[in-house]
Amino acid sequence: MTENTEVTTQGPERRVRVVLVDDHRMFRTGVQAEIGRTEETGVEVVGEAADVDQAVTVITATRPEVVLLDVHLPGGGGVEVLRRCAPMMSAADNPVRFLALSVSDAAEDVIGVIRGGARGYVTKTITGADLVDSVFRVQEGDAVFSPRLAGFVLDAFASTDAPPVDEDLDRLTQREREVLRLIARGYAYKEIAKQLFISVKTVESHVSAVLRKLQLSNRHELTRWATARRLV
């Protein structure tokens, strides 16, 4: 709530077009009411979808900057939407970015959508102000981690002690680990920056680096990790 003022001051100069994908109509309405007041928040909800097919159609038609994506959807789930929208994610101009928004914080859901290409993961207990903040952060190309997700990632990297193939890509650096740990402890990016005497931008780039490693280079380790826990 303290961040609300900050958002409103920044509101007018930045705008973001958002599509809501959730099979629960009441939830969509709620999110729309919470973040959709465009003059105050700068968020403009340009479309809604309730299942996978609808989502792909709406996203293709409206080309939003950010999609708020539920993990559990009729027709294959959020992962399926990500799979079918993959070309739009990597488009050079005006790429579509996905932020997973789910009630579930089960590890397989979280890891699944992140590996599918979502730029962040927040749970539905998030406040409206924080959600707006996350949307803008994702729009700018940064990653948004909930404490829970940071915990999963730390766990994934910590529990593998086999020497990785590519040291640089496969391991989290000490700094990234530190940042993740603070996220897991419930710190906001701003607070992390203050704590570590670095800029918020640096925090964000660390987090983005983690996300990149999670998606690209650590498939093997993550698979092993998930298999060991019978998540796959």
Binding site: T127, P147, L154, A158, R185, G186
Partner: protein, 431 residues
């Protein structure tokens, strides 16, 4: 609640399968051959030895026992029933140490049974061999019999493996056994043919047999395929229906119950929040925890992760403030960790009491090497540690003091207006 009632209505249909109804099963445990004798003994309430002796006696009467046994084997399904507990007949063949009882006993029994079978068959042969030329039929029959016994046992084992998930690694052995059984039967049949006709006709007979078999397969094949497909589909539907019924039952037991409570307490916002949080946690546990029942709250946690989650859940229930728990890694509890947990719990209670206004309390626990780190963070008003009066023991004794006494460290960081964070660090006790 239509699903819940449909489950109730479905109950009488499955009545015959309920355990109290006593039904004849072949025993899967401690059997020697097909489990018929044990099953019968269990059903009739007699010692197994008696039943086996009767079968043996009947066997000597022109092999009647064998026929009877075979019929039972075919008709009676394999079950978990039979003679309950340990009995004398089993211990007869047991010389294995107590540790490996279950694995070894049936095998030893089976070896004995096999030896007994061979001896019996030899005696039988010696008896019957009087008739001249009859042995030309006896051998093929014996071969066929042995082959089918092998294959049937195989089927039984496959079935038992489904229940107990044993013998998965012994797939090759099973295959070999099946093949041996088929080979024996084939050999027996071939011997029949050769005995009846001459070896020269073998080719013709085989061709004819193959032709007939192919014809049957062509005619009946599609039906068989359709039938197995229907069967598996039906089974799938049944499993789905069962799952749905279970979900419905759980929802009925917990969620609807809670909703009723919430309706009744609609004015009391705190109570409603508490109920909803508790229910959410239970449901989440049930949905996402593999094998979790969501209700096993009775047994004491034995690992750090469980204990932290449990403590957070209790604080959450008591104070109605949401706690978000993140645990990285896990380790078994020891004395020092238990002390740390008590300190953490105290910190959680403080956070919920004084800092709960600012949103969820964040609890983070991490095991890294030998170090266990727990942080409890709230976004409340914060306080000045130095201004806490001397007589307030909560923070000083329960948290800082307890950690120091057990060889750990506690750090408090509190910014007025910026929340409070308690960091607890402890080395695990040596192994």
């Amino acid at each position: 609640m239509p699903t819940a009632t449909s489950r109730a209505a479905g109950a009488p249909v499955t009545d015959p399968e309920e355990p109290p109804a006593r039904k004849l099963y072949r025993s899967a445990e401690g059997r020697m051959l097909g489990g018929v004798a044990r099953g019968l003994a269990g059903h009739l309430g007699l010692p197994v030895v008696w039943v086996r002796l009767v079968f043996l006696g009947l066997f000597l009467a022109d092999g009647l026992g064998a026929v009877l046994y075979a019929v039972f084997w075919i008709v009676v399904p394999l079950g978990v029933g039979g003679v309950g507990g340990v009995d004398g007949s089993r211990s007869l063949f047991e010389t294995a140490p107590d540790g490996s009882r279950r694995l070894r006993k049936p095998d030893k029994g089976q070896v004995f049974a096999l030896v007994a079978l061979i001896v019996g068959a030899l005696i039988f042969l010696a008896n019957v061999n009087m008739g001249s030329g009859a042995d030309r039929y006896i051998w093929p029959i014996l071969l066929i019999g042995a082959g089918s016994v092998l294959v049937w046992r195989q089927a039984d084992n496959a079935r038992r493996a489904q229940w107990m998930e044993v013998g998965r690694r012994r797939g090759m052995l099973h295959l070999a056994r099946g093949l041996a059984g088929v080979a024996l039967v084939g050999l027996g049949l071939a011997a029949f043919l050769v005995v009846r006709g001459s070896a020269a006709q073998l080719g013709n007979v085989l061709t004819a047999a193959i032709a007939v078999l192919t014809g049957i397969a062509l005619l009946a094949g599609p039906y068989l395929v359709r039938m197995t497909q229907d069967l598996s589909e039906e089974r799938l539907m049944r499993i789905r229906a069962q799952e749905r019924a279970e979900v419905a039952a759980h929802v009925h037991d917990s969620v609807l119950h809670t909703l009723t409570l919430i309706q009744r307490n609609a004015e009391d916002a705190g109570e409603v929040r508490r109920l909803a949080r508790a229910q959410e946690r239970e449901l989440r546990n049930w949905l996402y925890d593999p094998g979790g029942t969501g209700k096993d709250a009775d047994d004491e946690p034995t690992t750090l992760a469980d204990a932290v989650k449990r403590a957070a859940a209790e604080v959450e229930d008591k104070h109605g403030v949401p706690l978000e728990v993140v645990v990285v890694g896990d380790c078994p509890l020891d004395e020092k960790i238990t002390a740390q947990l008590q300190a953490a719990r105290e910190a959680m209670v403080n956070a919920a009491k004084y800092g709960g206004e600012g949103g969820a309390v964040q609890v983070f626990a991490e095991v890294e090497g030998r170090t266990v780190f727990v942080s409890v963070r709230d976004r409340g008003p914060g306080f000045d540690l130095d201004s806490v009066p001397e007589d307030r023991m909560g923070v000083r004794e329960s948290i800082v003091g307890r950690m120091r006494r057990n060889g750990g460290t506690a750090r408090l960081r509190s910014v007025p207006g910026g929340g409070t964070e308690v960091e607890l660090e402890m080395e695990r006790a040596g192994e």
